[in-house]
């Protein structure tokens, strides 16, 4: 039996229009609301709000630093009970942690000796320069665009 394409289209359209709308599973809404309750965890770090970004960085740095400070003590306390293979791995981790701790100490020293004394000055200078740039830009665009619109 042949059928014109238009008739077939109408037939299928009627049949599909009669289909009931598929319903979302009962578990769907709780799942969405649970995802909404923790909206930032599943997203990349660079899309988080800046307070969370700062907090995450501080948390990681604090954890690494704490591990670096505490590592020799931990190794002395538990190292003897570990198998050789684990001890060699632990020695490597300890080296990394000590390096991280040393890096943090250098950063701390640099901050207190070099950055902190001039931080306020740099901040003030940055604000003044940004303001001056914004004013210059506004004035320039006003003159340039004003002249263009009048011609």
């Amino acid at each position: 039996m042949t059928m014109e394409p238009e008739d077939l289209e109408r037939l299928v359209h009627r049949a599909l229009a009669d289909l009931p709308v598929p319903r979302a599973p009962r578990t769907f809404r709780p799942r969405v609301m649970a995802a909404v309750a923790l909206p930032d965890v599943g997203h990349p770090w660079f899309t988080w709000p800046w307070p969370l970004q700062v907090a995450a960085v501080l948390l990681v740095v604090s954890g690494v630093s704490a591990l670096g400070w505490a590592w020799p003590t931990l190794l002395a306390a538990f190292g003897a009970h570990l198998p050789d293979s684990v001890q060699s791995g632990a020695g490597y981790v300890g080296g990394v942690a000590e390096t991280a701790a040393a890096f943090m100490r250098v950063m701390e020293l640099t901050w207190s000796a070099v950055v902190a004394p001039i931080a306020r000055l740099v901040l003030l200078l940055t604000v003044v320069l940004c303001t001056a740039c914004a004013l210059c830009l506004a004035a320039l665009s006003r003159v340039a665009l004003g002249g263009a619109s009048q011609s």
Partner: protein, 179 residues
């Protein structure tokens, strides 16, 4: 809005909960018909609602909400299917060269058998989902979402002629399941 207390969660959670309740079936229906897979449809629908939540202050109360949700759902589903796009074309061409490009994965009952409405609907829905994507997607967009052929061709990045051909073949495949 639903008459209930604020569920635990971020501010506005109660309003958003009601929002999800109102639109979840619509979003899920678009996704499951385009993707023909419940689990993937749930994932996409969840992503749609998370995007809606990010701009919920702008969206709530707007008359354009259903259209916005359908557009986002459609785009996300097409993106999801994008990785299979080359395969669609491949199988589409195979289908043109040979016989039917798929087997309907439903019961072997004769289409002429007397079925009650629920059975008939289930058979037709299953037949629709069993269509290959290059036939199912344009059919869903045309018959359920009221997109025109030009619009579908633009969305899928194919010619209007291919859209018409694929839809016609899809309809021919569905016809056996229509009384």
């Amino acid at each position: 809005m639903a008459a209930r207390g604020d569920p635990p969660g971020p501010p506005g959670a109660a309003a958003f909960d009601a929002f999800v309740l109102e639109y979840q079936d619509m979003v899920y229906a678009v996704a499951v018909r385009l993707l023909a897979n419940e689990a993937e449809a749930e994932d996409v629908a969840q992503t749609v609602f998370l995007r809606a939540y990010e701009r919920f202050d702008e969206l709530k109360g707007e008359a354009t909400v259903p259209g916005w949700l359908k557009t986002v759902t459609t785009n996300l589903c097409l993106n999801h299917l994008e990785r299979y796009r080359a395969r669609w074309r491949f199988f589409s061409e195979m289908g043109e060269a040979g016989g039917p490009a798929f087997d309907v994965a439903v019961t072997a009952a004769s289409p002429e058998a007397v079925l009650d409405d629920a059975d008939r609907h289930a058979q037709l829905e299953a037949a629709l989902r069993a269509l290959p994507p290059h036939q199912r997607v344009p059919l869903v967009l045309f018959h359920f979402e009221q997109h025109g052929c030009d619009d579908i061709a633009r969305l899928l990045g194919v010619s209007v002629g291919k859209v018409r051909t694929d839809m016609h073949r899809g309809r021919l495949a569905l016809r056996r399941w229509l009384s």
